[in-house]
């Protein structure tokens, strides 16, 4: 491969044929390239009097941000097919990168576009990408990769295959809404958010647009759009209560009961919030024998009230 310094302006960045990574350059990379330029050459292919970038997207973005004019590049020899180049680029990244599902979707899409047979993809590439080696995986990820507007959020949220599969079961309008709101949730919450919405949609036989427009929910959606802090958490609480009304109701009653119990200082009471176990556990801290005696006698006095029995009744409900 020929090594050359090339003009940044000669790279046709709008041609993203080989691009499958979605991370932006880190602050460290930006600083490093601003201070000492690109030390590791990017890889390009010559085409129609310019260059198509094959690998080094973050480095090029950082170089542009640093105002560089020229960068070192390795030029792929002519005669290499798109599939050859993409394989080289893929394997160059493979050892260092922990690809997100969105990136894996792009990898699969590009391999297929460049003519790799799906059987080969299933057998030889999916296991290495830690994906179930079956056609279904390809079908799901291929459909996902078509939604390029959704990929940055899928990437940021580190979605799992199961979440993507469920997301694709929503109608297009629902998918747009989910992606619009997803920024308000952390990784784990995103998967749960989609799951809760799916359940409500099926249960109520309503589109999610209608569910999110309901009186109790719509103001929270607006709060998320207005980027109010913790708005995502509040929406999640409402959705959880909708999907799990019984458990939430009993838990509320239990929490209320616990508040009414006169517990000794430095004593903490916990119970199984899934309501499977019917016992409570008490964590009592005492630094001296006297403190312990005082705490136990405090506890036994509180046992004379009927708050404990009503707590156990609730737990055993």
């Amino acid at each position: 491969m020929e090594l050359r310094r090339i003009n940044l302006g000669d790279i046709k960045l709008e041609n993203r044929r080989y691009k499958f990574t979605l991370d932006e350059p880190s602050r460290k990379l930006l600083t490093s390239i601003r201070e000492s330029g690109i030390t590791e050459p990017v890889k390009v292919k010559t085409e129609e009097g310019g260059y198509i970038l094959a690998s080094g997207w973050k480095r090029v973005a950082a170089a542009l941000a640093a105002g560089l004019k020229e960068i070192p590049a390795q030029i792929f020899p002519g005669g290499l097919t798109d599939l050859n180049i993409f394989k080289l680029v893929f394997f160059e990244n493979y050892p260092q990168e922990d690809f997100s599902l969105a990136e894996k979707a792009l990898i699969i899409k590009k391999f297929l576009e460049f003519g790799l047979k799906s059987e080969k993809l299933i057998r030889e590439f999916l296991p290495g990408l830690e994906l179930p080696p079956e056609r279904q995986t390809i079908d799901v990820l291929n459909r996902l990769s078509d939604l390029d507007w959704a990929l940055p959020e899928v990437h940021r949220g580190r979605w799992k295959l199961a979440t993507a599969r469920l997301f694709l079961a929503f109608p297009p309008e629902g998918q747009r809404l989910i992606i619009n709101l997803a920024g308000a949730f952390n990784h784990n919450q995103q998967a749960e958010f989609i799951d809760l919405l799916f359940t409500l949609q099926q249960r109520q036989e309503k589109e999610i647009t209608a569910i999110l427009a309901e009186r109790e929910i719509e103001p929270l959606v607006q709060e998320i759009r207005g980027k109010k802090p913790q708005a995502g958490d509040r929406l999640m609480t409402v959705l959880r209560e909708r999907v799990n009304p019984l458990v939430n109701q009993i838990n509320r009653e239990i929490r209320q009961k616990i508040k009414q119990i006169d517990l000794p200082e430095k004593c903490c009471l916990s119970y199984d919030k899934s309501l499977e176990k019917t016992f409570v556990s008490l964590n009592l801290m005492a630094g001296t024998e006297e403190e312990l005696v005082a705490a136990v006698s405090h506890l036994s006095n509180s046992l004379k009230t009927d708050q404990w029995s009503s707590l156990f009744r609730l737990l055993g409900k």
């Binding site: 279904q136 079908d139 079961a169 359940t199 019984l246 458990v247 309501l275 499977e276 176990k277």
Partner: protein, 362 residues
């Protein structure tokens, strides 16, 4: 049988290609392409390429041999175990229930028949010689319907023969079909229990593709009971939905109209439970099913279950209905925690749970 029509191909393990049972099965299905294979992987490679590998796996028949047949029923950690042994001659099932755990349990497993059933004799001898329990229960319905493949394999009569004379060792054949013909032609063994999974008409119609109707199941159970077999019933999975109470009551009333209490060996109750993986698969395979969209908690074993108050309410109500037919003592719970058992069984006067929760121990 309906499912013969859905079969697309037969694979024969090279090791068993000369077996008499293979020949019999191939004669039975003369129009299907047959391929001799050296390993299961060859079939799995094909299944991986199917758009829906679970559905496809039910269309491929694999005739092979198994090394071992008997295993302790895995139950689930933290549950009150009912001490059951599974006897697996077949893997996978031609029926297609939306809640079937096999969808998540198997990894590209075709409909598999172990044709070396003769070898089970020796394993059974060793198994019985090691058992010291007063009652031993074995069943074939763990990894597929016990009778769905029987018209091809003749396993039911074969196994009945092997268990004959072994008092207090029960063999259970669990099914959702109405196929008991071969068993009605032999003299009934008292330790062979023919069991039917029962559900409400609504659930059978919407969630149990390929199974016999409730009427057919009950009529067949009544026929078997009349012929002299002990019968069992499994209300499993019980699905909690708006009209569950009325619908299950209807099933139970219908059951007692047709089957005498004396013929019933046991009745198990188990509400819907499933691992997350199954929900993912089943939601995609059964987009119209609503059973995965109820209120669930994730319990101690990682499985999703209805909240305990719901389960207890359902079990208690079903128990009440059975008690009106003097048959509450036939009931036991499947894969339930000790808390739920305690609420279900109640306490005796000394505050201890009632002894012998399992009907076959009474």
């Amino acid at each position: 049988m309906f499912w013969f029509k859905q079969l697309k191909k037969i694979y024969v393990d090279r090791q068993v290609k000369n077996s008499a049972l293979v020949k019999k099965i191939l004669d039975h299905l003369p129009n299907l392409p047959v391929r001799i294979v050296s390993s299961l992987e060859e079939i799995q490679d094909e299944l991986r390429l199917a758009p829906d590998p679970v559905s496809e796996s039910k269309r491929m028949l694999f005739l092979t041999r198994e090394k071992y047949f008997i295993r302790p029923c895995p139950c689930t950690p933290g549950c009150v175990s009912c001490d059951y042994w599974t006897l697996d001659l077949n893997l996978n099932c031609p029926l297609d229930c939306s809640y079937c755990i096999l969808q998540a349990y198997f990894n590209h497993q075709p409909l598999t028949i172990a044709v070396n059933q003769e070898e089970i004799k020796k394993e059974l001898e060793v198994f019985f010689s090691r058992q010291n329990k007063s009652v031993i229960r074995l069943g074939t319905g763990e990894l597929g319907d016990s009778l769905a493949l029987d018209s091809l394999t003749g396993q039911a009569v074969f196994l009945a023969g092997l268990l004959k004379g072994r008092k207090r060792s029960f063999l259970e054949l669990k099914t959702k079909t109405a196929y008991v013909e071969p068993l009605i032609e032999i003299s009934p063994s008292e330790n062979l229990v023919l069991s039917w999974s029962l559900n409400t008409k609504r659930i059978i119609n919407s969630e149990e593709a390929g199974s016999a109707s409730l009427e057919e199941r009950l009529a067949t159970a009544a026929r078997a009971a009349k012929y002299g077999y002990k019968v069992g019933f499994h209300f499993d999975p019980i699905i909690y939905y708006s009209t569950w109470e009325k619908d299950y009551e209807e099933v139970i009333e219908e059951l007692f109209k047709q089957v005498p209490v004396e013929a019933i060996a046991w009745v198990s109750l188990g509400t819907l439970r499933f691992p997350a993986k199954l929900k993912e698969i089943a939601r995609a395979r059964f987009p119209h099913s609503l059973i995965y969209e109820a209120e669930f908690i994730q319990s101690w074993d990682g499985k999703f279950r209805y909240p305990r108050p719901v389960r207890v309410k359902v079990y208690k109500r079903i128990k009440e209905i059975f008690e009106t037919h003097n048959s509450g003592d036939r009931l036991y719970l499947c894969m339930e925690s000790s808390e739920v058992w305690r609420d279900f069984k109640g306490q005796n006067k000394k505050g201890k749970p009632e002894a012998s929760p399992f009907p076959w121990l009474i």
